[in-house]
């Protein structure tokens, strides 16, 4: 018998065979078919949660990177401009390139802060320039304060000179003549008053710490007192001369 026939005979017999499965077989299949649905649902939910978490994570990382990059691009410029805005209103004029400058101080600052013609500036260089600008602004502020102080000082001296002239006139009207000693005494008194006024501001009722310090230092720094005295004396003499000229 040929092997093919042999195979066919066996195949015929086995193909015709049927084996009835046990009743538990379908139950098992049914159970298994129901379970994966839940599993797949859970997997889907977990998948969505994982996807959302990944998305949130990417957003956070991208956001932090974006802001970090933005900050690192121009760190000094942003902070410098803020500081300058706070410290000096002149800075705003510089930034806006306002063409008109009203007073001398602004002119001075403007000249100093005038930006160089367009040229590429390295970040490091820019930071240095900014710090230089800050220094210049601080100097300008100091100058401004000095100017203001000098103006007040002159005003108070002028006021005292007027008072002195008035006092001398009243003494002259009473005694017909005023001695140099009396004038010196009056000048010394006026000098003291000017220095005191400088320390204690009547309007604000405040003691100027700098002026007080200067007064203490004045003990060592005699030229300051002398300067006040000389200013009073010169002013007084000029006033007197002017009055005398006017009377003549």
């Amino acid at each position: 018998m040929a092997p093919i026939k042999f195979d066919e005979n066996i195949k015929e017999k086995l193909d015709a065979r049927r084996i009835k499965p046990s009743s538990q077989a379908w139950e098992r299949i049914e159970q298994e078919l129901e379970m994966p649905v839940k599993r797949s649902t859970n997997r889907k939910i977990i998948g969505w949660i994982a996807l959302a978490a990944c998305f949130a994570g990417i957003l956070i990382i991208a956001g932090s990177l974006f802001f970090r990059t933005e900050n690192s691009n121009e760190p000094a410029l942003v902070e410098t401009s803020k500081e300058l805005k706070e410290t000096a209103p002149i800075q705003r004029e510089k930034e806006n390139d306002l063409p008109e400058i009203e007073n001398k101080k602004e002119l001075l600052v403007q000249e100093e802060l005038k930006p160089k013609p367009t040229q590429f500036v390295e970040p490091q260089q820019e930071i240095l320039q900014n710090s230089e600008t800050e220094q210049k602004l601080a100097d300008a502020n100091q100058k401004e304060e000095v100017i203001e102080e000098n103006t007040d000082f002159k005003k108070s001296i002028d006021k005292k000179i007027d008072e002195l002239v008035a006092q001398v006139d009243s003494i002259e009207s009473k005694n017909k003549s005023v001695t140099d000693a009396e004038i010196d005494a009056l000048l010394a008194q006026a000098q003291k008053q000017v220095i005191t006024e400088r320390i204690f501001n009547e309007k604000t009722k405040r003691v100027d710490a700098n002026a007080l310090l200067m007064d203490v230092e004045a003990e060592l720094d005699r030229p300051l007192q002398e300067k006040v005295f000389e200013a009073l004396k010169d002013g007084f003499l000029k006033a007197r001369e002017a009055i005398a000229d006017r009377n003549n």
Binding site: F6, D7, I10, L14, I19, P21, W26
Partner: protein
């Protein structure tokens, strides 16, 4: 007359089963399970284990039913799944060994399979074959796989498949002779 309604009915059942209709799934199972268990049993000598393999096979059938393209017969599609499932079981149990056994070289012709020989007796003869012989023999002689397909599925050479088949036939022949001698007391060549 009855064949056409049966196929129409099976197509409808498949469509419903794709939509997870449990009744349709049960109907398909009832229709094919006895045959599929018989196929699994050809590979696995333990009936309970064969049933387990069949259950796993049906689970795969229902889970992947939408992949069935209706190009071949539905039974053929299930059969292939059952064969693969049975082989997977044997692999998991590390039972498939493609070893050579000493055969009686005097046997050259094949005895006729006695028509009175029951399928269960043939199954017993097949069960007594070494796993490697049995799998290749069942795949080739009963399921109709080619040697190239068998080699591909079992990860062996085509030559190994052929030699395993040859040796399986020889061994079956010997066992058949022994069985006939036992039954009739004479050789039946």
């Amino acid at each position: 007359m009855k064949v056409i309604p049966f196929f129409r009915n099976e197509k409808q059942l498949i469509k419903k089963a794709v939509k997870k209709d449990r009744e349709a799934q049960k109907a398909l199972y009832d229709l094919h399970a006895p045959k599929m268990l018989s196929i699994c049993r050809q590979y696995i000598s333990d009936l309970q284990k064969a049933e387990e393999a069949m259950c796993n096979g049906f689970l795969k059938v229902f889970k992947n039913l939408e992949q069935f393209r209706e190009e071949g017969s539905f039974e053929g599609w299930i059969r292939r799944i059952m064969v693969r499932e049975s082989i997977s079981y044997l692999r998991a149990e590390s039972k498939i060994q493609f070893s050579d056994y000493e055969l009686d070289k005097t046997t050259e012709s094949y005895n006729n399979v006695d028509s009175t020989l029951e399928a269960e007796h043939i199954q017993q003869l097949i069960d007594n074959l070494p796993e490697g012989y049995r799998v290749v023999f069942v795949m080739y002689a009963i399921e109709g796989y080619k040697h190239s397909e068998i080699a591909d599925i079992l990860n062996i050479n085509e030559g190994t498949s052929k030699s395993q088949l040859f040796k399986a036939r020889k061994m079956l022949q010997q066992k058949l002779i022994e069985s006939n001698n036992y039954q009739y007391g004479t050789d039946k060549v």
